[in-house]
């Protein structure tokens, strides 16, 4: 288990840029929520977004898979490239994009279906399984990756809503993993969980880093320090500081970052 006091390894495993965001602004009606943010998300790295409530970190996260499209009054400007391809281009189908950029939400939101059907949902939609056996494999593999297989293998056909909060969240992670995304976005995935479930999910995030680029929004600075290699600090819609997690937490360049991580503002 990860230790609270130890910072995660400082070495960023990979310097390849997975997502490059340039001059991204987001407007809710007339209200500008994100003000010209530039961020590079590295491949196979956990990037944490921290900042006080309402600073726009979740909004920014939702730009990466165009979830903001589902909000009528929301408007995104700027340039976001996934592997060099502009995700806001007309040629990009947001639905296809979301299959590549998976998302886990703040509150566990399993569908009112069985555990199996919850995980099989994505693969079925995208036609990832050739046969029933294939689908069974995908479901098992995803549940294993979600670190919940052992707990649910005997009741795959029980409703997913009957699980505990922590199990539900890991089920949602397994569900997101099942579509084999390249990037996993996590919007405060542990805010509804108790410390034990949080530790399980954090451990899981660290494992997921081997395969995916993970972006996590969190309110907990300890969590950011524990799981991420890179950290971005947002304040009032601005990106204040972005760098290696160790550097942000031990030697912040900006006064504002320092005040936030030492708990003076927030």
């Amino acid at each position: 288990m990860l230790d609270d006091t130890n910072l995660a390894e400082t070495t960023v495993a990979n310097d390849d840029i997975k997502i490059a965001a340039r001059d991204v602004s987001v407007y809710y009606g007339d209200n500008q929520a994100i003000k010209g943010v530039d961020v590079d998300i590295a491949d196979r790295t956990v990037t944490a977004f921290i900042g006080p409530s309402g600073c726009g970190k979740s909004t920014f996260l939702r730009c990466f898979n165009r979830m903001n499209d589902t909000i009528d009054i929301c408007r995104v400007t700027g340039d976001i490239r996934l592997d060099g391809e502009d995700i806001n281009a007309k040629s990009v189908d947001p639905v296809q994009l979301r299959a590549k950029v998976g998302m886990v939400f703040q509150k566990p939101n399993p569908f009112p279906k069985s555990i199996y059907d919850n995980v099989a949902y994505g693969p079925r939609i995208h036609g990832l399984a050739k046969s029933k056996a294939d689908l069974d494999d995908i479901v098992e593999k995803s549940l294993r990756r979600g670190a919940i297989w052992d707990e649910v293998k005997d009741r795959l056909h029980a409703p997913g809503t009957g699980l505990s909060g922590g199990q539900q969240q890991r089920l949602c992670i397994a569900r997101a993993v099942a579509t084999e995304p390249e990037v996993l976005l996590m919007d405060e995935p542990c805010s509804a969980l108790d410390p034990i479930a949080t530790a399980q999910v954090e451990e899981l995030i660290d494992e997921l880093r081997q395969t995916y680029s993970v972006v996590i929004v969190t309110h907990s600075m300890q969590q950011a320090a524990r799981v991420s290699q890179k950290t971005a600090f947002f304040h009032l819609g601005n990106l204040v500081e972005f760098g290696e997690t160790t550097q942000i937490f031990t030697n912040p360049k900006d006064k504002l970052t320092e005040s936030y991580i030492t708990g003076r503002i927030g």
Binding site: V95, R98, A99, G102, M103, F105, N109, F111, Y121, T179
Partner: protein, 493 residues
Amino acid sequence: MPLLWLLLIVFAIAAFGYVLGRRRALVSANRDARHLHSLPSYYGWNVALKTIIPAVMLLLVWLLVQPIVVYNTISSSLPSDLVDSASSQGLLMSEISRVSDGLSTAVSKGVLSEELAASSSLDAETATAQLKEAGAVVTNDITAPVLSAAQDYRSATLSGRWIMALVVIIVAFAGAIFGLSQSNKDFRARNVVETVIRYLLIGAASIAILTTIGIVFSLVFNTIEFFRLYPASHFFFGLEWAPSFSGRGGSSELGVLPLLWGTLYISIVALIVAVPIGLFAAIYLSEYAGPKVRGFAKPLLEILAGIPTIVYGLFALLTVGPLLVSVFGDGGVLGVNWQGGGRAVMTAGIVMGIMLIPFVSSLSDDIINAVPQAMRDGSYGLGATKSETIKQVIIPAALPGIVGAILLAASRAIGETMIVVLGAGAAARLSLNPFEAMTTVTAKIVSQLTGDSDFASPEALVAFALGMSLFVITLGLNVFALYIVRKYREQYD
């Protein structure tokens, strides 16, 4: 004294008590409301309620009991030969009370003086003449014993009323004084007033329940009476509905099955029309429509729900029926001859379906909107399209509610009358052809009870048995709908 005056007096005492109670409480707290247990107005209400409630309750009880007491006293004092000459004691008593009412009418119209109406010098002939002149309902000539009994009846009633007024006012005063004596700063007036409010709410709730029970009982007794006259097995399993109004029962065939079949058939057609259209409309309105479209389409759809069913009936009779005949009838567009006349199961079913569309769509719309946004986000986040999300996540999540909405719509369809009368005709028939005229239970209830119906014949009483069957069926459907909704509701969160 008229009742209205009595009530006004009680309310005046209460209003006076309110002011006094409020002031008394304030005085006890040295005119500083902060030292009171409750707000000053609660002390006022405490006095007012203690004035009104006992007085009005006594009034109600008195009004219920007094006629019974007077009736029993007068009827036991009647000479036995008088009872024998009339055919029954009940008829005689109603004659007496009619004459007594007539005397009061005559007095109030000034035809008869109060003294004369009460005095024994009034003879039967003048009384008859004067009552008739006053416009009172007097069937035949009043005889002297009846007149004197009526005078007794009237004087007992009148004096009872006066005593009642007096007692009620005394009780009101006593209540006010008791309430006032409580009004000091430590009295928990707020709790007392809130208790009264709670009983008021309980009362409102029980009225609804008691009414339901009352309706059931009114059906039950007549239904039992019907089954005494007509064998239940013929009613429930009879394949023919042929009431005869000419003879006194016997020759009538009162089998419920053709009617139940008609009811079910028309309801099924209605649901086949209403459920897909209503559901699709709900999905469009809640998931696809922009706020502007939703803003005018939803109220527009709900206007359909406000149209009286008789208007739908006219629509069925004048528009849909002929239209269907021009398609399915002789020389119609399709070149088939399935439909003979405008009145058919299809006509009524389609129009009833149209009537149910807003019912289904509005309920389903609410239910679909109640599916948490987190479900949609979860599905979109996995790369599902809107349509996939609706088909695989939203509809399954909302299904229990939608099933409930459909069952509620079904129980409305089963209870519908006017559209059937005008759209489906009145012929009770067991047939599979949806282009034939049929009729339903409700339509037959109407036709059995309209016109001159003798409530002792099975032909009229069958209406209650039909109503009871219908009530049981719709009750069952509603209970089933509630059960489904409850059973699956917990899956939402």
